[in-house]
């Protein structure tokens, strides 16, 4: 079996990216392939935590896009990154409700109303950490019925109408199409989530990895991200 995933003679670049980047990075990957003939881009989409763990265990990745700072720090601290990580997108929490909004949620404070089935992320995972920050900033104490392991678990519970509301990222709502409705709330600005990316030194195609990072940071990349609902990182 070939050590470089994706093909035998053609060059392949492997990007480890947070699951939330699935749509945008897949699109950027297509574009990268057309501008680099003979190169294929392979993505490993998973939770940032899993990815960081895999990279520090020696996974053959050329670039790493993390959905939070902590996991990026794990990788850079391990001396696996070429240079500093670059912020390339931010993300903000929003309230996801079923399209007909059965619990009539209008604002963040409504989430604390009794009888509302609210699901959030567990504090241990990035979206959960952001949720805690918002709670602290607003002084609203949420009583979730579940603290999910991943933001996708929150979203899928709202999609299944099992929960009346969930706290997820804006981009999640956007990519979920019309299966859920997003209700933005101003307090979400208190907990901006930073997405950073870096090329890795130990990867088999480190140079191509850097080029992919560049693509993400380029105007084209930023447009795709903005279209998906990501925010621009503060300079």
């Amino acid at each position: 079996s070939s050590p470089s995933p994706g093909g035998t003679d053609a060059k392949a670049v492997t990007v480890y990216a947070a699951a939330s980047m699935k749509t945008t990075f897949t699109a950027l990957g297509k574009s990268f392939e057309s501008s680099h003939p003979g190169v294929t881009v392979t993505f490993n989409f998973a939770g940032s935590q899993t990815l960081a763990e895999q990279i520090t265990q020696g996974a053959p990745a050329d670039a790493f896009a993390s959905a939070n700072d902590a996991n990026m720090k794990t990788v850079t601290d391990a001396g696996l990154a070429s240079g500093d990580a670059k912020l390339y997108a931010t993300n903000q929490l929003t309230i996801a409700v079923p399209p007909d909004n059965p619990a009539k949620i209008g604002a963040f404070a409504d989430l604390a109303k009794p009888g509302i089935k609210l699901v959030v992320c567990a504090p241990a995972v990035p979206c959960g950490a952001a949720t805690v920050k918002v709670e602290q900033a607003t002084g609203v104490t949420l009583k979730p019925v579940s603290e999910e392991q991943a933001v996708t678990d929150v979203l899928s519970k709202v999609q299944a109408r099992e929960a009346d509301a969930g706290l997820v990222y804006k981009t999640d709502v956007k990519s979920a199409g019309d299966t859920v409705k997003g209700i933005d709330f101003p307090e979400s600005a208190k907990a901006i989530n930073n997405n950073s990316i870096v090329a890795l030194t130990k990867g088999p195609q480190a140079a191509l990895g850097q080029q992919f990072v560049d693509l993400v940071l380029s105007a084209e990349g930023q447009k795709v991200l903005a279209d998906a609902g990501f925010g621009k990182p503060a300079a």
Partner: protein, 280 residues
């Protein structure tokens, strides 16, 4: 004058076979490789563990809550498996009905279904908008996000284990003793209670352990169907998954606890079922 009687005690007719194993020697190479293949990852985990923190890690509030919840739900799920699975195995082993093979295949499906998909399917069934959700809601039995949901998810994935191994045992035991009991005047329920179930005991013990183990380790269906809230739905595997983010050591410590519980349960059952086997 006397004629010697042949000894009436029916001795073993073919003698011992203690001195013949019949296995070619090269066979032990893959056998040992197989055992090592499973053992090494466990050893690796033990080696990675920071034992000085072990006690502290496994006694944290969230860990204890998760362990306690896991034991409680796994026992309940195992009971549910027994209540549903023993009759199912009996029907599959003892009745010939059309479509029996299909029913058996369907009962085995949770084995192949990725647990997350199983969780989705359970949501579609017992969730608020699910097939039965309306009915359950009207009856005032909320399922999603409750401990009940955890038990349902665990039962769903563990049931096939019980049914499969029990059906095999039932076919081996056969029906002769049940017939005898009936002609002695025992009605079917009595036969079940006083003959079938006692005779099934050794097989039942190991089948129960298999399903308990599977319930104890269940993750995907639980997280999808039941959610994850400390003390309510966050079982040990879910806690391990979460801890892994902050504190990999804690995750490993808890995994070792899980492994320990499982090993103890298996060894005890082994003992029990071997004792019971002496009268088989």
């Amino acid at each position: 004058m006397s004629t010697t009687e042949a000894n009436p005690a029916p001795a073993s007719r073919t003698g011992g076979r203690a001195d013949y194993s019949g296995l070619p020697r090269w066979l032990y190479v893959p056998a040992a490789a197989g055992a090592l293949f499973v053992l090494l990852p466990l050893v690796a985990m033990v080696l990675r563990m920071d034992w000085t923190r072990f006690g502290e890690l496994i006694t944290s509030e969230s860990s204890v809550a998760a362990l306690e919840l896991s034991l409680r739900t796994s026992v309940s799920a195992t009971l549910a498996c027994l209540v549903l699975g023993v009759p199912l195995a009996l029907a599959l082993a003892r009745r010939h009905f059309p479509g029996r093979d299909l029913v058996r295949s369907i009962v085995l499906l949770p084995l192949v279904l990725p647990p997350v998909v199983g969780g989705i399917a359970l949501l579609y069934t017992f969730g608020r908008r699910g097939l039965l959700g309306g009915t359950l809601d009207v009856l005032g039995i909320p399922v999603a996000f409750t401990t009940t949901a955890v038990v349902i998810a665990q039962t769903f994935v563990a049931l096939p284990f019980l049914v499969v191994s029990l059906e095999g045992t039932l076919r081996t035991v056969g029906q002769r003793y049940e017939l005898v009991a009936a002609t002695l005047g025992a009605r079917p329920s009595t036969v079940l209670r006083r003959v079938t179930l006692p005779l099934l005991l050794p097989g039942l013990a190991s089948a129960t352990v298999l399903s308990f183990a599977r319930a104890l380790g269940e993750f995907g269906a639980t997280v999808t169907f039941a959610g994850s809230l400390q003390g309510v739905t966050r079982t040990l595997p879910l806690e391990i998954y979460l801890q892994r983010v902050d504190d990999p050591d804690a995750a490993i410590a808890l995994s070792l606890v899980l492994v320990g519980v499982a090993v103890v349960v298996m060894l005890v059952t082994n003992r029990i079922s071997q004792r019971a086997l002496t009268w088989a």
